[in-house]
């Protein structure tokens, strides 16, 4: 995504927003203008609250996402190499996968209480399935030629995973990581709305309860910007790797 398109797109969005506010003649309490939201953002930043909420959200997101990456890739490699086992596991995965992580929140709050853990669990669930499915698919589609070479060179099972399976499936796994990243970030906010007393999701709920829609908008903008940042980073990594390897 080129910077000039990004700036142009955001400018257009802000202009449209301002137009809606002016044409609709909405009160600030109902639909704050871009300027009022910018002021709210600044006040959040100055008070230190913004950084506090961002850092706690990033912490939960980081832990939940990294755990999902480790579990999803590890299980995905194992199941991708064991097609018979996967045929038994797959129906259950397909049953659980479409269930929104938020649907589990009553159980999660019941067992994990409130605080960081429920949000981390929700992020984990949101990220785990896309990574698992992408990894299983990628591993099961590795060219048999690579595995024959590994066999011919008598590579150890660990070396086969490290030197053949992971790199061979990496471009496809990256697709899963990208989907999981977006999904996890969406559910972080949702998770913080149901089981946390801090974070960007909580900030939205707290501001709504105080009828401060300018703060709600400020939190939405920050959430969107971080989502965009993560997506850009992972896209760049994927692009560089696939370009270097000549993979389509």
């Amino acid at each position: 995504m080129k910077l000039r398109y990004m700036i142009g797109s955001f400018t257009l969005l802000v202009v449209l927003w301002q137009l809606v506010v002016v044409v609709g003649n909405y009160e600030a309490a109902l639909l704050p203008s871009p300027k009022q939201v910018a002021q709210a953002l600044w006040s959040l930043f100055i008070s230190g609250l913004l950084l506090e909420h961002i850092s706690i959200s990033l912490y939960r997101f980081g832990i939940g996402y990294i755990l999902a990456v480790i579990a999803g890739i590890t299980l995905g490699i194992l199941l991708g190499r064991m097609p018979t086992v996967w045929r038994f596991v797959n129906p259950s995965v397909q049953l659980l996968r479409p269930v929104s992580p938020i649907a589990w929140s009553p159980f999660i709050v019941l067992f994990a209480g409130i605080g960081n853990l429920p949000a981390i669990i929700i992020i984990f669930i949101a990220a785990f399935f896309p990574i698992l499915l992408a990894t299983v698919t990628a591993v099961s589609k590795i060219s048999p030629v690579y595995l024959q070479i590994a066999q011919n060179f008598e590579l150890t099972p660990f070396a086969v995973v490290k030197k053949i399976i992971i790199p061979a499936s990496f471009p496809a796994i990256m697709g899963g990581l990208q989907i999981a990243l977006g999904s996890a970030w969406i559910f972080l906010v949702a998770g913080e709305m149901v089981g946390a007393q801090s974070g960007l999701g909580f900030l939205i709920i707290d501001a709504r309860n105080a009828l401060r829609l300018d703060l709600v908008f400020a939190a939405i903008i920050i959430i969107g910007l971080f989502g965009l940042l993560f997506n850009t980073i992972i896209q760049q990594i994927s692009y560089r790797v696939t370009k270097q390897w000549g993979v389509q």
Binding site: V145, Q148, F153, K163, W245
Partner: protein, 250 residues
Amino acid sequence: MIKINGVTKVYDTHHILKGISLEVTKGEIIAILGKSGCGKSTLLKIVGGFETSSTGEVIVNDVAVTEPTKKCIMLMQSYGLLPWRSVEKNISLPLEQHTALTVEQQQQRIAHYMQLVQLTPYATHYPHQLSGGMQQRVAIARALALQPEAILLDEPFAALDTFTRYFLQDELIKIQQQESTTIMLVTHDIDEAIYLADKIIILAEGEIAKEITIALPKPRDRSNADFQHYREVIFTEFELTQQQMIDYQI
């Protein structure tokens, strides 16, 4: 060095190989020549341990082959290079865990084989940045780096243009003479077989139809009368018509 004793291969009720027995001595290039579907690739896979025979056995240096080992490296038609590794890293793959070589010795060996296949300037290039011929040379260097007992080539130059094929055939002979590597080659190219091999095995319907020893010095001259003689012997074996022989030579 390689002994093939009464190897048969049966798929369902179809007999692909019917009791093949053959010996390949050290440093020899042997070409298995035959039409598509005659079982030549199956035989090579059995020698490499990638397929099991229905009956009979393959012995490499007094050890029966039951699975692929680094003693016999098979070069696939698709080269089998790892796209995520540079030329240098592809060649280093087999050396990274097996040998008792130090890192420095590994580097020396990699450098030696890169030089042998004339790819030193391309050490950091990735496979997709190389031509088909260069990719095949990387695959050959990677196989040689392990210093195997034998290299098994399954139609190694089939996907290449004539000029690259001729160039690589010369390179293969040079490398083989330097390294004294035993080579077992499967091809359907009659000229390639005569040009490279010390012995040609003609396979037809799963059986050895003829063994021809090519008693010509290397490098060979394709326009030489003796070369032409071997060509005619093989054409006769395949029952090709006079017209087909003329077409082929054109």
